[in-house]
C-alpha cells in the first residue's frame, strides 16, 4: 500500500489531484499495478483524467490519520441540550492574571468565543470581569499572534519542532544544564508536570519569575509569620480601611472580588445606612485614591516611616518607636486614622500594596493582629503551590548561570522575560549564550526573537488547563475553540520534553483531576467542574497565624532616610499590564483612569515637582474660560498635546520619557508604568510609550530612591480622551458627605435649582409595558473602565488609534468621566461612567433631518444606522456628548481572523453613520423574544443585563424596568441621592445617578472642603 505522506495534522491536502498524480510514489505504483495501461495512460491525451480518477481514490485512503481525537467540553447552564445555530452558548473557564485565576464565562457563537463575562458561580468573580478579562477576546484573535514554531528566526513546521523536542528530551540526561523559567505556577496539573520533570531530571532547576511579582508580599508574610501565607482581605467586613500604597480597587487587585466586596460597604440605600470609610496613602493618584474618603499623597519610600508612626500611635508592638517627624498635617492624619482604627477593633483593615517592602507588609500584619482584625477582616491561607524562594533571587542566579555558560537547555514558558526581567541581568543577551533555548509564548516577542526555538502558544481560550483562585478554589480551563494556529500549551511542551505520562493537554488536566476526585463518580464530578467553572472543596486550609512582633519591629526600625534624589516608582498599567497586552488595541485605547492618557505611558509628576524641574505644567486644574490660568498654564488641547520630556537616570542607565503633570501625585516622586516601548511586537503596539524596564534593576524593582532627572529639549505628544480636569462648579457629578446627607437628605437634589420644566409638545404616556431605565451609583463606581471595554466587546465598537484619539474621535459608547475636586495640594477625584441617557425628550431626536434616531415605546432612544446620512446635528444637540460618529471607515481593513471577534447580534457600522449606547438593545430583544416564546411571560427583574452592568465589579450600574415598582432600578431611583445629570435642560434622562457620598471623618473634615 502506498504511503501517501500526510502531515500529522492532516491539514496539508494536495492543491490539486494533479499534484498527487505527479508524485513518484504514485507513478511507481501505477507501473506496478497497471503495467500495460500505464504506458497508454501516460502517453495518451486521456492521461490526465485517468490519473485524476485513480489519484482521487488514493487520496481519500490517506486521510485516516487526520482526525483529532474527540475531546468533550461542557457548556454552562445557559446553553440548550441540542445545538441551535445562532444561539450563543456559555462555557466556564478561567484566565490567569496577576498570578491567580479569574473565573470567567465565555459566550460562544457558532463555534467561536465572542464575549467574556464573569462567572457568577465563581467565588472570586461573582459575575464580574475587569478590563483585562474583557479584552482577552481581542488577544485571541490578534492577527499578529505567533502562528507557527520558529527555529533561528524562521517559521518551521510543527513536525520539525516535534522531532527536535524528541531528540532533545533524549539528550537531557540527569538535567545538568537544564533550566526552566516560567511565571508563577498557579495550575495544579501543571505543577504535577513540573514535579515530574524535576523528579526525572534532578539536576535541573525551575525558576519562577513574574514581572509584576508578589515577592515583597511573600517576604512580608515570611517575616511576620515565619511562613508563606496567602493573605485574603475581606473588604465587605471592614468598616475602616487604610490602604498604604495599595491600589486594591485597581491595579493591585488580584481579582474583581476586592471591588465587589468593597462596594457592598459603600452602598447607602437609606440615610440611616452605614458606610465604610477608606483612608488612602499613596504616591500616585490611583482609582482607589479617587474612591477614598480621605487621602494624602506621600512618597512611596516614606510609607515605611509612616506605618511605623501609625503603629506607635496605635501603641502596637511594645517598642518605643520614634515618631519620625512627618509634619503637622501627617501627624494629625495619623492620629485621626489611629483613633478610627482603634475604635473599630475587629472591623478595621490595613492593607499594603505589593510595591512596598517586606517590612511594611510585616508591620501591617502586626497592626491587624493587634487590632483584632486578623481572622475577621483578613484571613490567611496556606497555599499548596508555594514559591520556594524569592523570585528575584532565583532569576538573578539563573542570569549568573547563563552568563557563565552553565546552561545548555533553557525552556522559557511565557512571561517575555527578555523584555521584562531586571535590566541588570541582561537576560536577552545571556539567553543567546544557551545552546538550546526554547520559548513558549503567544507572540513573536523579544524573548521569542532571542531564543533559538520559539513555539506558538495556545491562548487560554484555546487551551485545556486549570488555575487556582486566591483562596485555592480550582477552576478548569476549557477551550472555546480549537487552537487557531495549532498552538501548544506550556504543559504540553514540558510534557513532551520530559516524557510525562500524559502528552495531550486534555489528558494532563483530566487525568490529574479525576485522580484527585477520590470518591464518587469521577466522570460526573469532571462534568460538573466544567459546567460550574469551580471544583468544590479545593480551597486552601485557613490558618490563624501569630505575628512575631519582635522580628517585625526589628525590621521596621531603621526608618527610610529621605533620599536626596528623585524617587521613581514602577507600576503595572491598565493597558498592557506588564507589557503582554501591548498589541491589544482595545486596552491601548482605554484611557488610564486618572490621567486619561491613551496609547502611551508617561512619567507622572506633581505640579510642584514639575515647576522645580522647569517643566511646562499644562494647567490641569485650569478653571474657567481662560486660555491660560493665572500662572500662565495653558490648556493642553490648544498646544496640540505636546508635553516636555525628561531624562531619568538610574544606576547609570538612562531613559527619555514624556512628562505628565498629575494633580495628587506626591512631590518628589515620579511614577512610570512598566509595559510600554515594546520593540518586537505587533503593529498595534509599535511606538506606544517608553520602556521603563530599561531602568528597572534587581536592586530596586519597585521603588528607586535616588533617580536623577533632568529636562531635555524634546517634546512628545500625549493623547488623552479627556483633557479638562475640573467640573467648573457645575452640578454634574454631585457629591456630599454622609454626615450632611443624614442631616439633610435633600442636599443632593437641592444642589440644582430647577424652575418648573414645561415641554413644547406635551408629555408622552409611558405608563404601560416595559419601560427601561438605569441608575449608576457613584458611591460604588471605582472608575476601572470595565464597563467601557465590555461595551466595546459587546457592540463591535472600533478602535481608532492614537492620532485619531488626538483629534477627539474615540468611539467609546460609555466613557468614564473623571473630575478633580478640592484643593490643588490634596485633590480628590470623582469618577463616573457616562452612557447615553436615553432621554425621554431627547434633544437629538428632534434635529435629525431623516429621523434616523427615534424613540421606542419602551423608552429607548433608538439609532437606525441604515437611515443615518451623517449630518451630525444630533451630536451637536446632545448636551452629554455621548454620540459617536464614524468619521472614517474604522472597521475597514480588519484582518479576517480579527473579524471573528464581532458579536453577530450587533451591526458593524459603516463610515458616515452615528452610533451610541443602545441599552444593549440586542440583549433586550433577545430576552423579549425568549419571554414571548415561553408563553408571553413577563420579564423578570435582572433577566436583562446590559453589558456594562453585567461586568461591573462594583455593581454600580443597575438596569431594569422602571414601570415595575419592585425592580431594583425603581427602588434605587426612589432614593434621595438620585438625580439626573443636566436635568434642568428637561431632557428627562432614563439613566440617573446616585450621588457620591464621602464618609468623612469629622476630625479631618476641615481639610477637605
Amino acid at each position: 500500500m502506498i504511503q501517501i505522506k500526510t502531515k500529522q495534522t492532516g491539514k496539508k491536502y494536495w492543491r490539486s489531484l494533479d499534484q498527487l498524480a505527479q508524485t513518484p510514489a504514485f507513478m511507481e505504483w501505477l507501473h506496478r499495478e497497471f503495467p500495460s495501461s500505464a504506458e497508454e495512460v501516460i502517453d495518451g491525451a486521456s492521461r490526465r483524467n485517468v490519473l485524476k480518477l485513480m489519484a482521487a481514490s488514493f487520496g481519500l485512503a490517506g486521510l485516516t490519520a487526520c482526525r483529532r481525537p474527540v475531546e468533550h467540553i461542557l457548556p454552562n447552564v445557559k446553553g440548550v441540550e441540542d445545538y441551535i445555530p445562532g444561539k450563543p452558548y456559555f462555557y466556564a473557564t478561567a484566565m490567569v492574571h496577576n498570578g491567580v485565576a479569574q473565573g470567567l464565562l465565555a459566550e460562544v457563537n457558532d463555534g467561536r468565543p465572542t464575549k467574556i463575562e464573569g462567572n457568577p458561580e465563581h467565588p472570586f468573580s461573582l459575575g464580574a470581569a475587569n478590563v483585562f478579562q474583557q479584552a482577552a477576546i481581542l488577544g485571541l484573535y490578534d492577527p499578529d499572534r505567533a502562528r507557527s514554531p520558529r527555529q533561528d528566526g524562521k517559521d518551521v513546521d510543527w513536525k520539525v519542532l516535534d522531532d527536535a523536542l524528541k531528540t532533545l528530551s533524549g539528550s537531557l540526561g540527569q538535567g545538568d544544564g537544564l533550566r526552566f523559567l516560567s511565571e508563577s505556577v498557579t495550575s495544579p496539573s501543571f505543577a504535577a508536570v513540573q514535579a515530574a520533570a524535576l523528579a526525572k531530571f534532578p539536576k535541573a532547576k525551575w525558576i519562577q519569575y513574574d514581572a509584576i511579582s508578589q515577592d515583597e508580599v511573600r517576604a512580608g508574610s515570611q517575616l511576620a509569620f515565619g511562613q508563606q501565607l496567602v493573605v485574603r482581605p475581606r473588604f465587605d467586613k471592614a468598616k475602616v480601611i487604610l490602604a498604604l500604597d495599595s491600589d486594591f480597587l485597581g491595579l493591585d487587585a488580584d481579582t474583581v472580588l476586592s471591588v465587589k466586596e468593597f462596594s457592598r460597604g459603600r452602598k447607602v440605600a437609606a440615610e440611616t445606612d452605614e458606610m465604610s470609610r477608606l483612608y488612602v496613602v499613596e504616591s500616585r493618584f490611583s482609582t482607589t485614591g479617587a474612591t477614598a474618603d480621605h487621602r494624602i499623597k506621600m512618597r512611596a519610600s516614606e510609607i515605611k516611616a509612616f506605618v511605623s508612626d501609625l503603629a506607635a500611635a496605635l501603641k502596637v508592638g511594645g517598642n518605643e518607636l520614634k515618631v519620625v517627624g512627618q509634619g503637622d498635617k501627617k501627624s494629625k492624619w495619623i492620629e485621626a486614622v489611629a483613633k478610627d482604627l482603634g475604635a473599630n477593633r475587629g472591623k478595621g483593615l490595613v492593607v499594603a500594596g505589593p510595591r512596598q517592602p517586606a517590612a511594611v507588609h510585616a508591620m501591617v500584619h502586626l497592626i491587624n493582629q493587634a487590632l483584632g482584625n486578623a481572622g475577621e477582616t483578613v484571613t490567611y491561607y496556606k497555599s499548596t503551590l508555594e514559591q520556594t524562594r524569592p523570585q528575584l533571587e532565583a532569576i538573578a542566579e539563573l542570569a549568573g548561570e547563563l552568563s557563565k555558560g552553565q546552561v545548555s537547555t533553557l525552556v522559557i514558558l511565557g512571561g517575555n522575560p527578555a523584555y521584562s526581567a531586571p535590566v541588570d541581568l541582561d537576560l536577552a543577551a545571556n539567553i543567546k549564550k544557551v545552546a538550546t533555548s526554547i520559548y513558549v509564548g503567544l507572540d513573536v516577542d523579544e524573548t521569542a526573537v532571542a531564543c533559538k526555538w520559539s513555539i506558538a502558544e495556545a491562548h487560554f481560550l484555546e487551551s485545556w488547563g486549570d488555575a487556582l483562585a486566591p483562596d485555592g478554589t480550582a477552576t478548569i480551563q476549557q477551550p472555546m475553540i480549537a487552537p487557531l494556529y495549532y498552538g501548544r500549551t506550556q504543559a504540553e511542551i514540558v510534557a513532551a520534553l520530559t516524557g510525562y505520562k500524559d502528552q495531550r493537554p486534555y489528558d494532563i488536566v483530566r487525568n490529574y483531576w479525576t485522580a484527585k476526585f477520590a470518591k464518587g463518580d469521577a466522570d460526573k464530578l469532571w462534568r460538573h467542574a466544567l459546567h460550574d467553572g469551580v471544583i468544590p472543596n479545593t480551597t486552601f486550609a485557613e490558618v490563624k497565624p501569630v505575628v512575631d512582633a519582635k522580628k517585625v519591629n526589628g525590621a521596621i526600625q531603621p526608618a527610610a532616610q529621605s533620599a536626596s534624589g528623585m524617587e521613581l516608582v514602577f507600576t503595572p498599567n491598565w493597558a498592557t499590564w506588564d507589557g503582554r497586552f501591548a498589541n491589544n488595541g482595545w486596552l491601548q485605547e482605554i484611557p488610564e483612569p486618572m490621567s486619561k492618557i491613551t496609547w502611551d505611558n508617561a512619567a507622572l509628576v506633581s505640579p510642584a515637582t514639575a515647576k522645580q524641574l522647569g517643566l511646562s505644567t499644562h494647567g490641569w486644574m485650569v478653571k474657567g474660560y481662560k486660555a491660560t490660568d493665572t500662572e500662565g498654564h495653558s490648556d493642553p488641547t490648544q498646544a496640540g498635546n505636546f508635553v516636555d520630556m525628561i531624562q531619568i537616570e538610574v544606576d547609570g542607565r538612562t531613559l527619555e520619557a514624556p512628562v505628565f503633570v498629575q494633580p495628587g501625585q506626591a512631590d518628589g516622586s515620579i511614577t512610570l508604568a512598566l509595559g510600554y516601548g515594546r520593540t518586537e511586537c505587533g503593529h498595534v503596539a509599535k511606538g506606544a510609550g517608553v520602556n521603563a524596564y530599561k531602568l528597572r534593576t534587581s536592586k530596586a524593582p519597585w521603588i528607586v530612591a535616588d533617580a536623577k532627572v533632568s529636562k531635555i529639549a524634546k517634546q512628545y505628544q500625549i493623547v488623552q480622551t479627556q483633557e479638562h480636569g475640573t467640573m467648573e462648579d457645575r452640578p454634574l457629578l454631585r457629591e456630599s458627605t454622609l454626615a450632611e446627607y443624614r442631616k439633610e437628605p435633600n442636599v443632593i437634589k437641592e444642589m440644582l435649582e430647577v424652575p418648573e420644566l414645561v415641554g413644547l409638545y406635551g408629555d408622552w404616556d409611558y405608563s404601560k409595558g416595559n419601560q427601561w431605565g438605569m441608575t449608576i451609583d457613584l458611591n460604588a463606581c471605582v472608575g476601572c473602565n470595565a464597563c467601557t471595554i465590555a461595551c466595546q466587546a459587546e457592540n463591535n465598537i472600533p478602535i481608532v488609534g492614537k492620532d485619531q484619539v488626538n483629534r477627539g474621535r474615540e468611539m467609546h459608547w460609555i466613557r468614564m468621566d473623571r473630575y478633580f475636586v478640592g484643593d490643588e495640594e490634596e485633590p480628590q477625584a470623582v469618577m463616573s461612567p457616562v452612557p447615553c441617557m436615553q432621554c425621554e425628550t431627547a434633544p437629538c431626536e428632534n434635529v435629525c433631518p431623516v429621523a434616523a434616531t427615534t424613540h421606542s415605546p419602551e423608552g429607548l432612544n433608538d439609532m437606525a444606522y441604515n437611515r443615518c446620512v451623517g449630518t451630525r446635528y444630533c451630536s451637536n444637540n446632545c448636551p452629554y456628548k455621548v454620540r459617536r460618529f464614524n468619521f472614517l471607515a474604522w472597521n475597514y481593513g480588519t484582518p479576517e481572523v480579527e473579524m471573528m471577534k464581532f458579536n453577530p447580534d450587533v451591526t458593524v457600522r459603516m463610515r458616515g453613520v452615528m452610533e451610541k449606547c443602545t441599552y444593549c438593545v440586542q440583549r433586550i430583544q433577545e430576552t423579549k423574544i425568549q419571554a414571548k416564546l415561553e408563553g408571553h411571560r413577563p420579564i423578570k427583574d435582572g433577566e436583562i443585563q446590559t453589558a456594562c452592568q453585567q461586568t461591573c465589579p462594583a455593581d454600580a450600574i443597575v438596569f431594569g424596568n422602571i414601570n415595575d415598582p419592585n425592580s431594583g432600578v425603581s427602588k434605587l431611583k426612589k432614593q434621595k441621592r438620585n438625580y439626573g445629570m443636566l436635568e434642568e435642560l428637561n431632557t428627562k434622562p432614563r439613566t440617573t445617578y446616585l450621588a457620591k457620598l464621602r464618609n468623612t471623618n469629622e476630625e479631618l473634615e476641615a481639610k477637605h472642603g
Partner: protein, 469 residues
Amino acid sequence: MADLAVRNDPHVRPRLVEGDPSLHQVTEAVSSIIETRTPYSWWIAIAITASIAGVLKLCLGWLVYNGIGVWGNNQPIAWAWDITNFVFWIGIGHAGTLISAILFLFRQKWRTSINRFAEAMTLFAVACAGIFPLFHTGRPWRAYWLFPVPNTDLYMWPNFRSPLVWDVFAVSTYATVSALFWYVGLVPDLATIRDRAKTKGRKIAYGVLSLGWRGSARHWRNYEMAYLVLAGISTPLVLSVHSVVSFDFAASLLPGWHTTIFPPYFVAGAIFSGFAMVVTLMVVARWVFKVEHLVTMKHLENMNKIMLATGTVVGYAYASEFFIAWYSGNPYEKFTFLNRAFGPYWWAYTLMVSCNVISPQFFWFKKLRTSIPFMFVISLVVNVGMWFERFVIIGTSLHRDFMPSAWGYYHPTIIDMLTFFGTFGLFLTLFLLFLRFLPMIAVSEVKGMMATQKMHDAHLEAVAQAVEH
C-alpha cells in the same frame, strides 16, 4: 449755468447715470462687453479660477472617498468649517435679493445698475453654499433622503421638525425663486443681444433664451407684472432664508446657539456680508469693463451706507448677546461668552469684532466711503470678519458646552482649507462666465430709469429757470 448750480445742489439728487449718454450708448456700453472678442485677460482669469475650482472637485472627491475624517471635525466639534462655509456663502447671497427685490419695492432707482450683477452673485453664492449641506453628510450618496421625495429605500418622510429639513426648503426655494427672478429680468436684455447678434449661433442661442421677446406693450405689461410678483415673493425670502438657516443653531439647546436674537442677527449679518461682496466685485468689474458711468460713486456710496447700517446692527447684536448672557444668570451661557472672548479662541473673536464692528464705522466719514481703495479694503475685511463670526458661533459654542469632560479643540486640516478655497474658484468661474456671456447690467431697467431721470431734469430746468426770472 443754472444747470451746474442745480447739479451741485445737495438737495438735488445726484446723477445715477453720468455723462448724459443716449439710450443707445448705454446699450452699446453693456452689450459690447459680450460681443467683442474674448480678451486674453478673461482666458487667463478663468484658467486660474477654474483650476481653483478643480481643487474643490479633488477635495470633495477625496472627502467622499475617505469620509468626514479628512476634515478636522471631531467630537464635540462635529460642525466646523463645513457649516461655517455654508452660512457664509448663503449670507453673501442675500445682498443680491435685497437689491433686486426689496429695493425694487421701495422704488430705489439706483438699484438698476447693480441688481443684475448682484443677483448673479446671489445665484453663484447659493450654488457654492449648496455644496456644503450635501457634502458635509457622512453618507452624501444618501443625502436625497432630506428631501420629501418618494424613495423606494425606506418609505419614509424626512423629519419635518428638524431645522435641517427647513433648510432644505428654504435654500431650494431661495435658489429657485432667485433663478426665476433673475432670468425673468434678463429676458429683455437677452432679446437686445439677440437683435444685435451678427452670427447665426449667437442669434439662435440668445433667441432661445429670450423666449421670443418682441418688446411689445403686452410683453412689457406681462414682464412688469411678473417682475413685481417675483419681487414680492423674493422679499420675504431675504428675511426668511437666513432666519431658517439661523434656526439650525437657534433651535438647538447649546449655550451660544440657543438664542432668539439669531434670526434678525443673522439676516443683518447676511446683508452686511452680501453687500461687502458686491462692493468687492463691483469695484473691480466697473473698472475693468469701463462702466463707471453706469455704476457711479452714488451706487457705491449707497452700498457702503447699507453696510454701515447692517454692521451697526450686527455690533448691537454682539453687545446684546453679551448683556443677556450676564443678565440671564445662566452659568452655561455666561461661560460660553466669556470663553468666546477670552478662551482658546479669543483670537477668532477679536478678529470678528474688529472686522465687523469697528471697520464699517469708518463709513460715517464721506471721504472714506467715497474712496475706492478704502472701500475695497473694508469690504474684504468685512467678509473675513463675517466668516469668523460664523466660525466663532459654531466652533466656540461646540467646543466647550455643558460637560467639561467632553470639551475639545478644533484644528482645520489642509482639506478643510482647500475645500473652502476651492469654492471661491467655483464662484469666480461662474462669475467670469456670467460676465462673458450675459449682460452684467440690467440695461432695460437702466434705460427705463434714465427716461424718468430725463423727465426729472426737464422739470428741474423749468424750476431753475423760473427761479432765475
